[in-house]
C-alpha cells in the first residue's frame, strides 16, 4: 500500500496535515500504536523540514509486510553539511520560524532515533531526499 502527499514550502497552516493523515491511515489498517507513533513522528519531522526549508516536496509512504518505508523528496536549497545537520542542537531555521516553536535542532536526530534506518541525500541548490525505514514488530507465531 502506498500513500503520497504533496507538501508546500512555508505553508504553516497545512503543515503537519500529511503526517496526521499517514498516522490515522496506519491505525485504520491495523498497524500497532507504537509503529504508527514512530512513523507519525518521522513523517512529521520530514514534512516540517520541507515546510521550513524547501520550496515544495512530496512525502511517500510504502507499507510493506515487514516494514514501513518513508521517503521525503524536496526541491530546495539542500544541506551543505549533512553531518553537521545531524548534530543535536544544530539548526539553520530563521528567527521568525524559531518563534513558532521550530528550530530546536532535533529534526534529523529525531528521525534517526525513531527509525531503524535513515539515509539523507542532498545536493546544494537542488534539494534533499530522506529515506527512513521503520520495521514492523514480528507477528506472533512467526
Amino acid at each position: 500500500m502506498r500513500l503520497e502527499y504533496r507538501v508546500a514550502g512555508r505553508d504553516f497552516q497545512a503543515a503537519g496535515g500529511a503526517a496526521a493523515k499517514i498516522k490515522r491511515t496506519l491505525r485504520q489498517i491495523g498497524i500497532d500504536a507504537e509503529t504508527a507513533r514512530r512513523v507519525g513522528i518521522v513523517a512529521y519531522e520530514a514534512e516540517m523540514n520541507i515546510v521550513i526549508h524547501a520550496y515544495r516536496g512530496t512525502i511517500r509512504i510504502d507499507i510493506l509486510p515487514e516494514r514501513v518505508n518513508i521517503r521525503a523528496d524536496d526541491e530546495g536549497p539542500g544541506i551543505p553539511d549533512i553531518t553537521l545537520a545531524m548534530q543535536v542542537g544544530y539548526s539553520t531555521a530563521p528567527e521568525d520560524i524559531k518563534e513558532m516553536g521550530f528550530g530546536a535542532g532535533l529534526g534529523l536526530p529525531n528521525m534517526k532515533r525513531y527509525s531503524n534506518e535513515l539515509e539523507v541525500k542532498s545536493q546544494v541548490g537542488s534539494g534533499t531526499s530522506i529515506i527512513a525505514v521503520i520495521n514492523l514488530p514480528a507477528k506472533e507465531g512467526s
Binding site: 504553516f12 503537519g16 498516522k23 516553536g101 532535533l106
Partner: protein, 127 residues
C-alpha cells in the same frame, strides 16, 4: 494522577475533554519547542507549554499525548480548540508559569519521564 487532579492543582480552566477528566496521566513534561516535545515525551504523558500554536496539537497527536496544558495565562485560539475537540484531546489553561506549574504537579506526585533520552553531546539513546 487523574486529569481532574491536574486541573484542580493548577486551578486550570478545562477547554476541551471535560468528559475525560478521570483519565490517568503517568508523567509530565514542560517544553516550548515542537521537536523537544517529539523527543522528550511519550504516549499518555501530560505536556505543559507556553507555545500557543496549532502545531502543538499536531505534535501531540503524533506522540499520543494524554493532554495539553497551556501555561502563563495563554489562551489557545478557536482553531486550536477545534483541533483538540476533533482529536478528543483534553486541553486546559492555567495562569501559573511553566516552572510553577511543573513544580506543583511534581510535588503532588506526578513524575517526569524518568528514562528520557540523553541527547547532550550529540548521542541519542534508542526510543
Amino acid at each position: 494522577m487523574r486529569l481532574r487532579d491536574v486541573a484542580r492543582i493548577l486551578d486550570a480552566e478545562v477547554l476541551t475533554g471535560e468528559d475525560k477528566l478521570d483519565l490517568q496521566v503517568e508523567a509530565g513534561c514542560g517544553c516550548d519547542l515542537i521537536s523537544d516535545l517529539l523527543a522528550f515525551t511519550k504516549e499518555r504523558m501530560l505536556v505543559l507549554t507556553g507555545l500557543v500554536s496549532p502545531q502543538i496539537i499536531r505534535a501531540a497527536e503524533m506522540v499520543d499525548l494524554a493532554a495539553i496544558v497551556f501555561v502563563r495565562g495563554k489562551r489557545p485560539t478557536g482553531d486550536i480548540i477545534d483541533m483538540g475537540k476533533e482529536l478528543d484531546l483534553p486541553i486546559m489553561c492555567t495562569h501559573y508559569p511553566l516552572y510553577e506549574s511543573a513544580g506543583l504537579l511534581f510535588t503532588a506526585g506526578l513524575p517526569g519521564w524518568r528514562d528520557w533520552p540523553r541527547v547532550v553531546g550529540g548521542a541519542q539513546d534508542a526510543p
